[in-house]
Symmetry: C2
Subunit: 209 residues, 2 copies
């Protein structure tokens, strides 16, 4: 594959030399990491990242299709969480809790999971900006989708309580690795946590009846 000729303005490009697609892809990822870290998820537009990488925005879409997939690749996540949530939501909300837990555990167990996301969770003031980037990504790409499917006034809070539980599960099982939770069968963990997430998605609001 041959790079866009406009990219030869790069200081590293030599006259008469075409960058390969792999080189462009690496430049885009490096620019994305810098832009997301400096500007957060929302303000780091694809146009801005493309300019920093000295490529045309269409090349960013060619390689990564969506901004969330670019973010996932820049963070070295094994999958794009936003895409996975979208796929799970295609199955409706009725047994979303169990399905989401099972999927979440299988991604972690198979791939080492979303550990890089936890690198963004440094406590402020140590790295306030990274937490902001993560917050914007989760809010825009994950909570937003869930909220629309859950519906109702407290849909966003419900989605966030479920997400908070999953984050804590990942911390305890995979990062702190506390036993017996770390070694429990995925089915055992899912049998406990799935109905709890389902309660957050579709259970009655506390005090409502």
């Amino acid at each position: 594959m041959v790079d866009d000729v406009r990219a030869t303005g790069s200081p590293r490009a030599r006259p008469g030399r075409w960058r390969t697609g792999e080189e462009s892809r690496r430049r885009i990822l490096a620019a994305a990491r810098t832009s997301f870290a400096r500007l957060g998820y929302d303000r780091a537009t694809v146009r801005h990242i493309a300019a920093n990488a000295r490529v045309d925005p269409s090349m960013v879409y060619y390689f990564f299709a969506t901004k969330s997939r670019l973010f996932a690749a820049a963070m070295a996540l094994p999958v794009d969480p936003a895409e996975r949530v979208a796929a799970l939501l295609d199955g409706g909300v009725d047994d979303l809790g169990p399905r989401i837990v099972e999927h979440f555990l299988s991604v972690w167990d198979d791939t080492g999971g979303f550990e890089p996301m936890f690198g963004l969770m440094r406590s402020p003031p140590a790295d306030e900006r990274s937490a902001g980037t993560l917050r914007e990504f989760v809010q825009r790409e994950i909570v937003g989708q869930l909220r629309r499917v859950i519906g109702g006034e407290d849909a966003q809070l419900r989605a966030e309580l479920a997400g908070a539980h999953l984050m804590g599960l990942a911390l305890a099982r995979y990062i702190v690795a506390i036993e017996p939770l770390a070694s429990a069968a995925p089915e055992t963990v899912a049998a406990w946590v799935g109905p709890v997430l389902q309660h957050y998605f579709t259970g009655p609001t506390p005090g409502s009846g």
Copy 2:
């Protein structure tokens, strides 16, 4: 307060000068941080920490009473989580879920909370030892207490699922600070999460009936 004369072997002590209690306390805390980081929570004994601080072990107990309180002080936690759990468990297990959530939220809201503990949760391999120290502290001082009160074969897993949920709640509400969860009234959050923790403590084991 006047220091133990044996501590004057310190390279910083000048002949004829007695260290103040505050100096000894600082030396103990510094030694504790080093020992916990190098050896983990279990292997960093009070005797070992006292030797590193060049004080008598009795002085460690004089200042900190228990190893868990020393750990909390060394980590700059606002309270010793192990003591708080012990106090909450005095009220029995029947409404432990709501009480533990309310207390947890009030400590975070009032003091900035347990953020330093999250500093220990760096993903391996970045800082495997810190995660190990946290794991040992949580396992020995917190899960151990809960397990005895919950009882039954899966008591430890139940305690860890509840703890995982609380950890995730703290991450989402205080560190990532996602809205509306970050600004929700403590009573609203407790009304959602309290019954879930109670379910983990005393609800039926999944598939058991």
